[in-house]
Symmetry: C2
Subunit: 201 residues, 2 copies
């Protein structure tokens, strides 16, 4: 009898584990979407979007802070993956930056919102550390562009990065405020960001 239950004993936990992974992914997706559109989204609202009961969120994330931390980590990983796929190291710097922005700006804007939620709580060092998966890809691209004369080189890389982030966020903010049409926002954002860092093709 012990023998006959063995397969079930190993399969059931594995299935439970897979179910839990799916719940976690659904919760993180829902939380990212909910918090990006409303930073004050409640746990109930996030649960509703994720299609789980509120208690399920608390099983995985005992506090709102734990959830915020996980969402931020998750979002940064997603954007970093998307950046990598856009190959920032490939080709002419202006084209490379345009390609990377097109592929990631919308997600970057979402992260910016999450970040605002975390700014008061986390130290500057901790925030910097969390940005590294993205910075490690963007910094070399900006530096390469400055060396090749494609971007202004009389201001530090950190300023170019701050400006790009600010313009990306402005585009998303204007769309959300209904002041800029989505179709209009992407080309305006890209041409403005390139002009702002002094891009010359």
């Amino acid at each position: 009898m012990t023998k006959s239950t063995t397969p079930t004993d190993t399969t059931a936990p594995r299935r439970r584990r897979a179910d839990a992974d799916r719940s976690v992914a659904a919760i993180l997706d829902a939380a990212l979407e909910a918090l990006a559109s409303d930073p004050d989204s409640s746990m109930s609202e996030i649960a509703r979007r994720a299609g789980v009961v509120r208690a399920t969120i608390y099983v995985h994330f005992p506090t709102r802070t734990a959830l915020l931390d996980a969402v931020m980590e998750y979002a940064v990983t997603q954007v970093a993956d998307a950046m990598r796929s856009a190959e920032p190291q490939r080709g002419e710097p202006v084209e490379a930056l345009e390609r990377v922005l097109r592929a990631t700006w919308w997600q970057l804007a979402q992260i910016h919102g999450l970040l605002a939620l975390n700014t008061a709580r986390l130290s500057a060092e901790e925030l910097h550390r969390r940005h590294l998966p993205m910075l490690d890809q963007l910094e070399p691209l900006i530096e390469r562009g400055q060396k090749q004369g494609s971007f202004r080189s009389d201001v530090p890389v950190v300023w170019h990065l701050a400006v790009i982030r600010a313009i990306v966020h402005a585009a998303s903010h204007e769309i959300q405020g209904g002041r800029l049409a989505e179709a209009q926002a992407e080309p305006a954002m890209i041409s403005t960001a390139l002009a702002a860092i002094g891009a010359t093709a």
Copy 2:
């Protein structure tokens, strides 16, 4: 006897009124400074900076919200006055914008921080209404620049305004984070803002 007290009776309320006006101004100045550097500044901290006891703040501003509202109104009036003094309507649009930005960007960045505190509470219409004293001066300048071919005219005025605001805020944020020196920030901010809106002298 009634006669002899008459002068005191009219002078004392006037003096009390002048004292109160000075307290209010000191509280608003202190609150603006405190909230711009730390949005979570306590009423005690603001009282300490203003050189008054906490109870004095509550006499004039019964709630934190009432104080936030008054600080925002006060800050917008100050910036609008500074803009007016910089004469946005005078001369060549690129030069006029540069002059206005130099005179007001630091205060604009402070307001942006206050605004973030109020965004959740106020409707988009209400926020727009509160921006009018500044927008009423900047919009005509941008429009004039677009008409004269000094600024890009293939994007709406609202986008140029959003971009300028975003770049001003980025400069103040980078200074506060210690990533950009103050002396470096102003010229970088101005040249970047002008480039971003396609300024051609």
